[in-house]
Symmetry: C2
Subunit: 467 residues, 2 copies
């Protein structure tokens, strides 16, 4: 039987999209850098249908591209241009299967929107802490496939650390029922770890059991001007020593990033004069109350002032003020996009290596390209920087894009020399696949291929991504 | 060349043990339930030597048994009786390679004793939170190979969650250099996850980079009598909501366990009359100070009293009193050992399933064996119970051991029916290898075998363990 006929029998006529007008949104990535074609876009309704879809594709030898909310940043969910691949969209599988309040767990299908998941948790007076810019569109399945990070990793970890169990449709079309809700389970290899962060290349995640946390009673947010990145790192240490797990965010932004954001986004208000080179946004989540949370922040900032780690700071006095501070940080990518974009890097380093990396790599880039202007921000608490490069006034950004390859090479070499990662939270996808062999040992790549071979021997799961 | 000659050339004559008097301590497990023989016990001094030892064994087709502090509870580090296996002891590899205070990481060799690692962290004003009864002898390599748990998992996670990078000698004798010190790294399959908890069956972990945490300034400990396990679970929820990550331990003990401990260990003092069926030991770790920590405990206990979740409680007023409370909990295994032992189970369940599991399984066991007496304690916060079975006064414990198999079957079936694990923190080793297929799906076992085949195709790494 023809593959399309089989797929229609499995998911119903209306859920096998083949017309260009129907498939278009699934064939291009969010940033519109990757465009592909597909034999069809299939939208299964449940795990059984996913299993039968995978089985049918495997029978026909058709490669598959799993797709969630299609908000990925590395082209991991976009098919190639052959028109032979089948996009398997998980969007219809968006049910919350169960919430176990007493176990602090939630079981959801892969197509569940991250924000809905957060909302359901909150309705049960629980926190699901994964939080990132695309949360209104991104699905938890995509978050799992890319091991998404975001702004709360410092306290709660990456998506990997939030996951207790998975249900996965394997390349064979079999369903692995790994939906455990256990904090401790030492009965063999932890198979779920293979699928988390595998970018759809080993199987299709169809559901997950995730950790929930007590909902903090209060949050306090501060915005601080710091004299250097080294000072920001000192402030981080002071904050960790004083607040430990109550420190739920520690974001750093260069003055240039903030200036650009204030210019491009008129609703953004910056509460301090932009006299310092770097700014920190930090947040305390507290279970006693607002006053207590603000007290912790005050004691951190006062110690930091004494240690010359902070020049000036404000503490949000209301939820509205706190949101206003976060808008500065969250507005940065949008502001840069409005201004024409820049050459982006999603890197991580040991926190201890960050200040010297930025100083030395900024200097190296400026020496090489007189027109370059660094626009750096990120999750300093995790050693994760969005180390992006724009151009100074008068030089069009197109000039930077012309030199993108060379800029990337300089940045990634500097990262590698300091034991860092060229993809901290976005993954490899198509974007960094070609350069991965420059930054992984042949042995590690071979191990990864052995795992791929063991779980997807025919190479039908998301080929051309990651490996 | 003869294998023994090769090994002597690699590690030196004195580090290849073959005499019975020298090898004896390596050939029996800690609880003396597994005894084996070995071609030799080899003690390499560094990773290069481990690689050459593995290469030589692989050339000779000799199976290898990696061994750390030999404190495992499931016979995972004991060779079989053939005398053909080579025990590779990591004990000489006990160096701390580096501490990065600003990155909150430490890099240590596999043979480093857990307690030494804790001590070095403390010298740097940092906490390495893994803590378990055998910490004075257990090595971090063994902790990694078994993904050890312990008393602080509630806050800090299992060994897996504490690990950022690994160095591993593969079955081929090649060295995988995976010693990253990054909180975020999404550049492909997370290979370290395969080796953590693999019980030496995929390779030999030779070093690890681990997370450190701020050292708490104060700890407050409470001991509370609770009217039921359900009440203990309510107390847990109250404590989590109020203290969140500051709640670093939540241990539960049946009155019978405490009574036995008070009888067998005269130095143990129980600060409350033993009128309740269950007792809770809980600990708050705090970064403000002792008064603040005690205040949190008081507010939790007062809310619990109002909710009828607690009958009576004491809060330790000094470090000495706190240690005295912990001695009750820590004395339980020793007290039971002194009294002749019991039939042990290391199980986990969703926390929400624990009270009904204990009620119903206790009842089922007592119906089946009129002489049985449950002796249950464990890490309620993680859903992990040491669900052990002794005998009532007048029935020798030997009677329980005669029925060990049937008791295990009843307990494990009840665990499996509630989505639990038959090995929460001790692993599979030899002890539970035969029953594993009863509690894992054929598909999952096949996936595990595929991983084993991919990484150790000749089956030379710790054969006869786990799989």
């Amino acid at each position: 039987m023809n593959l399309l006929t089989s797929l229609r029998e499995i998911v119903g006529e209306t859920n096998v999209l083949v017309e260009a007008s129907d498939t278009a949104p699934y064939l291009v990535d969010w940033r519109k850098r990757y465009r592909g074609a597909a034999l069809a876009v299939v939208r299964p309704a449940d795990t059984g249908e996913v299993a039968r879809v995978v089985g049918a594709c495997a029978n026909a030898g058709a490669p598959m591209v799993p797709q969630g909310g299609n908000t990925g940043l590395v082209g991991g969910g976009t098919p190639d241009s052959s028109g032979a691949e089948v996009v398997v969209s998980l969007q219809r599988m968006n049910r919350v299967r169960s919430v176990d309040r007493d176990n602090d767990t939630i079981t959801v299908e892969a197509g569940c929107i991250l924000q809905s998941l957060q909302d359901v948790a909150r309705q049960h007076e629980r926190l699901f802490p994964l939080s990132l810019a695309a949360e209104g569109t991104a699905t938890i399945g995509g978050n799992l496939a890319t091991n998404a990070g975001g702004t709360q990793v410092l306290r709660y970890g990456n998506t990997r650390e939030l996951t207790l169990g998975l249900e996965v449709v394997l390349a064979s079309g079999e369903i692995w029922e790994g939906l455990r809700a256990l904090r401790k389970d030492n009965t063999g290899y932890d198979l779920k770890q293979l699928f988390i962060g595998s970018e759809g290349t080993l199987g299709i995640i169809t559901a997950a059991t995730l950790k929930l946390f007590p909902l903090p009673r209060a949050q306090a947010t501060a915005f601080a001007a710091v004299p250097s990145l080294r000072a920001a790192a000192r402030l981080l240490e002071l904050a960790r020593n004083r607040a430990d797990a109550a420190l739920t965010a520690f974001e750093v932004m260069s003055a240039g990033c903030i200036q650009r954001t204030a210019i491009e986004l008129p609703t953004v208000r910056v509460p301090l004069p932009l006299k310092a080179p770097w700014y920190v946004l930090m947040e305390i989540s507290d279970h006693a109350g607002e006053e207590h949370a603000a007290g912790i922040l005050e004691s951190i900032l006062s110690a930091a002032l004494d240690a010359n780690a902070v020049d000036d700071s404000v503490i949000a006095a209301s939820l509205e003020q706190s949101r206003s501070l976060w808008r500065i940080r969250e507005g940065i990518p949008e502001a840069h996009a409005k201004a024409g974009g820049n050459v982006k890097h999603d890197i991580s380093l040991p926190v201890s290596a960050v200040p010297a990396f930025v100083e030395e790599t900024n200097a190296q880039l400026v020496r090489r390209f007189s027109w370059i202007e660094p626009a750096v921000f990120g999750h300093l608490g995790d050693g994760n920087l969005h180390y992006n490069m724009g151009t100074i006034a008068g030089t069009p950004i197109a000039v930077a894009f012309e030199h993108e390859r060379e800029i990337n090479d300089i940045v990634h070499a500097a990262v590698a020399a300091r034991g860092g990662s060229i993809s901290a939270e976005h993954g490899i996808g198509q974007l960094k696949r070609a350069v991965l062999p420059d930054y992984k040992s042949p042995l590690e790549l071979r191990l990864m291929r052995q795992v791929k071979q063991a779980l997807d021997p025919r190479g039908l799961m998301n080929p051309g991504k990651l490996l």
